[in-house]
Amino acid sequence: MTESGEHSLALRHQFDTVEQQRDASTLGMWVFLVTEIMFFGGLFTAYVIYRTLYPTAFEAGSHHLNITLGAINTVVLICSSLTMALAVHGAQLGSRKALIACLLLTILLGSVFLGIKAFEYADKFAHHLVPGPNFQFEGPFSRQVQLFYSIYFGTTGLHALHMIIGIGMLSVLAWQARRGRYSAEYNTPIELVGLYWHFVDIVWIFLFPLLYLLGRH
């Protein structure tokens, strides 16, 4: 993604047509997202295996997650996906105002998500649910519950990191958009960052039920 759009409309020398350049960038982004799937995939595998091995412990662990905050965050993230989609839409129509407004909204929603997440983390800290030497869990299989929290922090932490990077990229885009860099003809970077943002949303769409909901009743 860093690749695209250094000299706005300018066609870089290795390409023959603008078309080709855009196709290449988009394909590149998709391939990158596939690597992201596999990157998170390692953690998802760990989750599936340990959940199969220790179902009760995982349920016990997930009981200490705050389902309301999780659900609110899910909604927040879906909203941000919508604003992101609208940002791309605005860019495609060449409406600079809509583009900037939507980008800013997306940044805002992303930050809200992170804020809530930070609050949840603090809560876990306070209750000694952060794995490591200080972990404390009343109950029979504290070691396995600790595994649950290792995976909880691993996945959500990595996800949050992706959000932070995403917000950074969105900020750059908003700034560039303000300076009139994007138009109906040239908006590939917006589209690419949009793909990335939606991907991050999808990761959360899976994390939410896996961590918060399964075995809840």
């Binding site: 879906i78 996906s81 919508l82 609208l86 939410f208 909901l213």
Partner: protein
Amino acid sequence: MSDHIVPKKLYYMIFGALIALTLVTVGASFIDLGPFNNVVALTIAVVKALLVVLFFMHVRYSTRLTKLVVASGFLWLGILIFITLTDYLSRGWLTGVAQ
């Protein structure tokens, strides 16, 4: 690839569906459906992900190659999880072996 401009209305519809599904999945998790709780939660997650991929990410309007790339990403994740799982699930099938 996507010169296709998706109408705003469609975005709002997808958005509505996503929110609705979120509410449903939260609600369903409080009802005891036995093993079906997991099935419901995961099915809803998959549907939501599909909606995002197809519409927000425009895959529905993209080339076959893009579709293939997306599909292979998920397929490979499936391979990783599924084959690893077969090991764990079939441990101890062979008697006389303390696993």
